[in-house]
């Protein structure tokens, strides 16, 4: 199965003329938007569900909402962060409605409970390089609270800055930093020896 590449090289916004045409109801222009951003939207939906069929449904919902709500978009601003915010809202709302499996929807600021390792820890011999480690990482991310999954995805997959994440998720900058730090720390501890530590 082909996999998506990671962050650092996020898709650039489309030319303003394409976005304006799509806003005006041009389906060919809107198709370009779907083609350009389907990977980013699907990645968020997949990270929140870890289920291809559910991610596909959510993706369709995101783009249909974009089509319906395009008139509310300010063309003077970049489309990508706005669309990612729409995608996260669709996913969060689906989780709230319990239409998707979820761990916990919200992480409190005082989330200091010690993390306990899963009962079944694979040994280092099983944790080969490359894809196998990437798959272990996805399994670990699936166990994170939803807010941690979102912030990890926006930072490391979509390549957003802390400030952009703050805008997309509507969190204060300090909250972004704290949750990102805690999410990474949990992942480091969950993956343990597979990361090459002793």
């Amino acid at each position: 199965m082909d996999h998506q590449k990671g962050s650092g090289v996020p898709e650039r916004d489309l030319p303003a003329g394409v976005v304006a045409a799509a806003q005006g109801g041009d389906e060919a222009a809107f198709r370009q938007i779907v083609e350009r951003f389907q990977g980013a939207v699907f990645a968020i939906a997949w990270r929140m569900t870890h289920d291809a069929a559910q991610a596909e449904d959510l993706c369709q919902e995101v783009f249909l909402r974009l089509w319906r709500k395009f008139h509310t978009f300010d063309p003077g601003r970049p489309l990508r962060p706005w669309l990612l915010r729409l995608a996260t809202n669709v996913c969060i709302n689906a989780l709230k409605k319990h239409t998707l499996p979820t761990s916990s929807l919200h992480v409190g600021e005082d989330d200091e409970a010690p993390w306990e390792p899963p009962a079944r820890q694979p040994g280092p011999a099983r944790l080969a390089e490359g894809r196998e480690l990437a798959q272990r990482l996805e399994d670990a991310i699936a166990e994170l609270p939803d807010d941690y999954r979102l912030v990890i995805t926006l930072r490391h997959l979509e390549g957003l800055s802390y400030e952009e994440i703050s805008t997309v998720l509507g969190w204060p900058l300090g909250t972004v930093k704290v949750r990102l730090f805690r999410a990474r720390e949990r992942l480091r501890r969950m993956l343990g020896p597979a990361l090459g530590g002793t």
Partner: protein, 83 residues
């Protein structure tokens, strides 16, 4: 480094290039003397590299057509509505 939480915060910021030059130099000095923090930095470094190459599948090939089919259906339905 006595404060484990602080050392982990520094390790993450170090790998993201977010430390000021003086902080970076001080942390690197500390790393030379502290195997525990070197291990944490190495683990975060590996974590960051795997996060950049995730095992996330590509969207299905038919996704664009599905979306555009529904967009077109909505447009057609809107046009059929009487003014």
């Amino acid at each position: 480094m006595a404060n484990c939480q602080r050392s982990r915060e520094l390790a993450q910021a170090y790998l993201e290039g977010a430390l000021a030059s003086s902080e970076r130099a001080a942390f690197e000095n500390h790393l030379r003397a502290c195997p525990s923090c070197r291990r944490v930095v190495a683990e975060y470094g590996r974590l960051f590299s795997v996060l950049a190459e995730p095992a996330i599948p590509q969207p299905p090939a038919h996704l664009v057509e599905l979306v555009m089919g529904r967009v077109g259906a909505r447009g057609a339905a809107a046009q059929r509505k009487p003014p």
